[in-house]
């Protein structure tokens, strides 16, 4: 059994982190684009009503307003569901926020297919790709509630645009207050030299669970949590490639141009080894219960185990 500290949705890490940050830093302001209760931004709104700016259902304006606030010394946190946060206003993020290197923090909720019954329109599966491709943007995909809280607080320390992805459904808490969280530095959660399983977001729990199944089969997997997808920790990836000779990446996101691709970019340029990807393969999601969807789209620990078995056959 993977050691966990209960279940809690990562989105609460964002809302609670924002309140904690707001207590410390008076320049932090939050922009609401409606849906503030489901993104948990309402926690900030209730605590600091004067520093909460409601913009309504107008994402493009919200992003521009955030840029403007940052240019007069505020640290704006603008948040909505990832499909809208990263999609509806991509041009605003690219040209106004990132090209000007504005100190804007973007919270992207409802990341992944586990959003469930709302279906494909609300299941963000592309934001890692569309955000990491923009110069100056930093991308963080925390693995659990605790890490999301740390990431939200820490984002204020990094100058420039930061995108933080979080999910809707409760997921296992696998880190605690003492787990290191250093921007840009991956965490090796488990040692092993047969294969490296590299994950981001709540899928890291599935990776840990897969490693336990593999252990029973005599395969020792190294499990790596890459919370900072950009800038990515090349050193830890290269070491994993060298030590293990095979890599499986795990993400609740499109594999194409996504997290696995980001890892592959490092691997092929530095230490090419066979890789397999666990993620969404060029498909939209659909309605269903979160667990049903994770199974249907092959995002569970057993699917990671299968990917490990495939990659091991290709190992030289």
């Amino acid at each position: 059994m993977v050691k966990t500290f209960g279940n809690k949705a990562t989105r609460y890490g964002y809302g609670e982190g924002l309140v904690e940050l707001g207590e410390k830093n008076p320049n932090v302001v939050a922009i609401g684009l409606d849906i503030t209760s489901s993104t948990t931004v309402n926690l900030f709104k209730e605590r600091f009503p004067d520093r909460f700016i409601s913009i309504g259902i107008a994402e493009q304006n919200g992003m521009g307003v955030a840029a403007g606030l940052s240019l007069v010394g505020k640290i704006p946190y603008v948040c909505t569901y990832g499909v809208f946060a990263a999609g509806r206003c991509w041009d605003q993020i690219r040209t106004t926020v990132c090209y000007s290197n504005c100190n804007v923090k973007i919270g992207g909720g409802h990341g992944g297919i586990s959003v469930g019954p709302d279906g494909a329109t609300h299941q963000a599966l592309e934001e890692i790709a569309t955000m990491r491709v923009i110069p100056n943007m930093k991308v963080i995909v925390p693995c659990d509630y605790v890490e999301t809280k740390k990431a939200t607080i820490m984002a204020a320390e990094i100058f420039g645009p930061v995108y933080i992805r979080f999910g809707r459904e409760p997921t296992p808490i696998i880190t605690d207050e003492n787990t290191p969280f250093i921007f840009g530095k991956a965490n090796v959660l488990k040692e092993g030299n047969d294969v490296a399983i590299i994950g981001c977001g709540p899928m890291v729990y599935e990776a840990l669970s897969a490693s336990e199944i593999l252990e029973k089969k005599g395969i020792k997997a190294r499990v790596i949590n890459i919370h900072t997808v950009k800038p990515i920790d090349t050193e830890t990836i290269i070491k994993a490639a060298k030590d293990c000779g095979a890599i499986v990446t795990v993400e609740e996101h499109q594999v194409m141009a996504g997290f696995g691709s980001a890892v592959a970019e490092v691997v092929v340029q530095n230490c090419p080894v066979p890789m397999e990807f666990v993620g969404i393969f060029d498909k939209f999601g659909e309605s269903g219960q979160p667990e049903e969807l994770l199974k249907k789209y092959k995002l569970k620990d057993v699917n990671i185990v299968e990917a490990v078995e495939r990659v091991q056959k290709r190992k030289r």
Partner: protein
């Protein structure tokens, strides 16, 4: 802070001198946007010399007003006026659009040109930035004002109206929007490509005050800004009727000159016409 205001006559002279700079810059660059640069220059001249509070020698000074050029493609006009104010040396103007220049084809904050507040060029985004700045100043109870310069074709962007709505909602009387209403966009007449009128009624419907002026009459521009600064409880839109290519006979009201630089011969003709205006 009271400043000594320049007379309409002085401003007109400066503006026409800046027109010559614009033509020279564009000719030297071999590309760029003369039409809109010439239609907005009178407004920018009046704004920078008589209205905004700023310190060109200290471009990052907190107390400055902010100017956002949402219609970023007319940056030759902005660069010319910034240089005239003393933000950077005059000779740098002629590096426009060249490799390594701080004067990018559209304003680029990351190139470090003093006076550029934000990167613009993708239309429809600047007013939102201005709204954010104005809200920020209100939060801190600061007196700074924000001026956002937009095009009339740009009013076709939906995001403009999101921003207009939010400025009205927050009663941003520290925000002044200027629409350079020259009636032309790349594809032709604005009203034929996609009609935007009646702009005054539209802005008023979104809880703005509006002032309509002749955007080439220096005194009218000057009093519009004076009036706009006094209005309380509402943002103000100055709808300025202008002429694309203003000041050069063969460029006036010709859509083709939206995004085409004059060659050497054409530039000489422009300059000789403009010199006659200055006499």
């Amino acid at each position: 802070m009271e400043r000594e205001k320049k007379s309409a006559k002085e401003l007109e002279k400066i503006s026409n001198e800046l027109r010559i700079d614009i033509i020279k810059m564009l000719c030297e660059a071999g590309s760029g946007h003369p039409g809109g640069s010439l239609s907005i220059i009178d407004i920018l001249t009046v704004l920078y010399f008589n209205h905004i509070i700023h310190d060109p020698k200290n471009p990052d000074w907190d107390g400055r007003d902010r100017v956002v050029l949402s219609k970023g493609h007319v940056c030759p006009a902005l660069y010319a006026v910034l240089s005239k104010c003393g933000y950077f040396p005059h000779e740098e103007l002629f590096t426009l659009r060249k490799l390594g220049s701080r004067l990018q084809g559209h304003p680029a904050k990351d190139k470090g040109l003093p006076g550029i507040e934000v990167s613009t060029g993708s239309l429809g985004q600047g007013l939102s930035v201005g709204v954010g700045m104005a809200i920020g100043f209100k939060l801190d109870k600061k007196p700074n004002r924000v001026y956002v310069v937009m095009g009339d074709g740009e009013q076709q962007e939906g995001s403009i109206w999101e921003a207009v709505m939010s400025a009205g909602h927050y009663k941003l009387d520290n925000l002044i929007g200027i629409v350079d209403h020259n009636n032309l966009q790349i594809d032709g007449e604005v009203e034929k490509v996609m009609g935007v009128e009646n702009l005054e009624e539209k802005y008023r419907a979104f809880r703005w005050e509006t002032i309509r002026i002749n955007g080439h009459n220096i005194s009218e521009i000057d009093s519009a800004f004076e009036k706009a600064k006094k209005i309380k409880g509402k943002p103000v839109a100055i709808i300025a009727d202008t002429i694309k290519g203003k000041g050069v006979s063969f460029m006036e009201n010709v859509a083709e000159w939206h995004g085409k630089a004059p060659n050497k011969d054409q530039a000489e003709k422009c300059i000789s016409e403009l010199c006659n205006l200055i006499k």
